[in-house]
Symmetry: C2
Subunit: 220 residues, 2 copies
């Protein structure tokens, strides 16, 4: 019984890591589609999101089976309930990558972002990708040291997000209303992606240490 | 043991309903603050969100205790895991009401919405409030008939949300870039609030019937 249980716990951990890898891949492709107005790549991301949803569902059903059949308690129980939460956050990160790809597809053949805002958005995208790579490593290794960089990246994304609104409010903002809407949504998607990354990070920290960290300036 | 268990299940159900009531109240006040640029009311919503977060946490801890101490199986287990999901969605609805209140406070003493868009936003707000009132009743009574109206309201909100972007894209859009950003975010908040309402509704339907409904046009 115990052996089956450990195997199931291990499998749940593996699936979480796998979802996190797929999310990273989705964000990489979405970013490239967004940057280069590549509609085929955007289409890939949109199609691949179904795989993330499937894996989340599979993980959740497995977790419920373990709860029913093994009746775990204490830290094992918290790990399983935590996995349900983390899978929901990761699934949402996949949705946000999909939304970014959808914006790219919607505006094709034009780029979503005007030339003078490209650097801001590419920095946000790079940071989001870094967050989701660190998250995969954190889920695999439980090395809590990785959390610091995730929190720092999130703080920087919040600054960039605020910077977008500052740029829009400046008197020399001369982009069209539609571009203004696109940038607002895109910036919000990048920022929410990082928020969910922080939320998974805090959950891993809680599961390892048994304590909630105070919410830092940069987190949600 | 069984009696304690039933009492705990009942308490979890009560807390869900209570959170849903607080969410309704938050959305009502946020809407009024948004409509009338009432900064004190906005402040109320922002402060009251902490109570929703506290109740969600309390419900979650109670659910984990029940899982640990009672080892529920089958439909009871699904009900408890479902409650964890529903509490997360309801908590997020509270956050979105808070974001709407924060927009109102940020723009005070001005209104967020220009005169010719007020009717659109007020309809979205009314529909969101209706969704969250229906949700409270659904959680209390498990009367699945109520779901139909929730789905219909969500479909209508999606239309209104699309209508905002259509208005922005029209050649006679003459609002400032900052107003364009505000309306984009506000419209997104109202739309996401309804999405979460639909997600809780689908969960209740699943728990009662044991089957997932196909995702309707209006749902997420």
């Amino acid at each position: 019984m115990r052996k089956v249980f450990q195997a199931e716990l291990h499998q749940i951990g593996e699936e979480l890591t796998q979802i996190s890898q797929l999310v990273t891949e989705a964000m990489k492709k979405a970013t490239q589609a967004f940057e280069t107005a590549d509609t085929e790549l955007a289409q890939d991301v949109i199609a691949a999101d179904a795989r993330i949803d499937f894996l989340q569902n599979d993980l959740d059903e497995r977790a419920i089976d373990v709860l029913a059949l093994q009746g775990p308690v204490a830290s094992d129980l918290r790990m399983i309930v935590g996995s349900l939460r983390m899978s929901a956050s990761l699934e949402r990160m996949g949705d946000l990558a999909r939304h970014i790809a959808q914006l790219a597809r919607l505006r094709y053949p034009a780029n979503v972002v005007p030339a003078n805002m490209v650097e801001t958005f590419m920095e946000m995208a790079r940071l989001d990708i870094a967050i989701s790579e660190l998250l995969t490593e954190l889920l695999e290794t439980r090395n809590l040291e990785l959390s610091k960089d995730i929190y720092a990246h999130n703080t920087r994304i919040n600054e960039l997000h605020a910077g977008v609104f500052k740029a829009v409010a400046s008197p020399d903002w001369d982009n069209s209303p539609v571009t203004t809407v696109d940038l607002t949504l895109a910036s919000r998607y990048f920022e929410r992606f990082a928020d969910h990354g922080v939320s998974v990070t805090r959950k891993v920290n809680y599961l390892v240490t048994g304590e909630w960290q105070p919410i830092s300036e940069g987190s949600v």
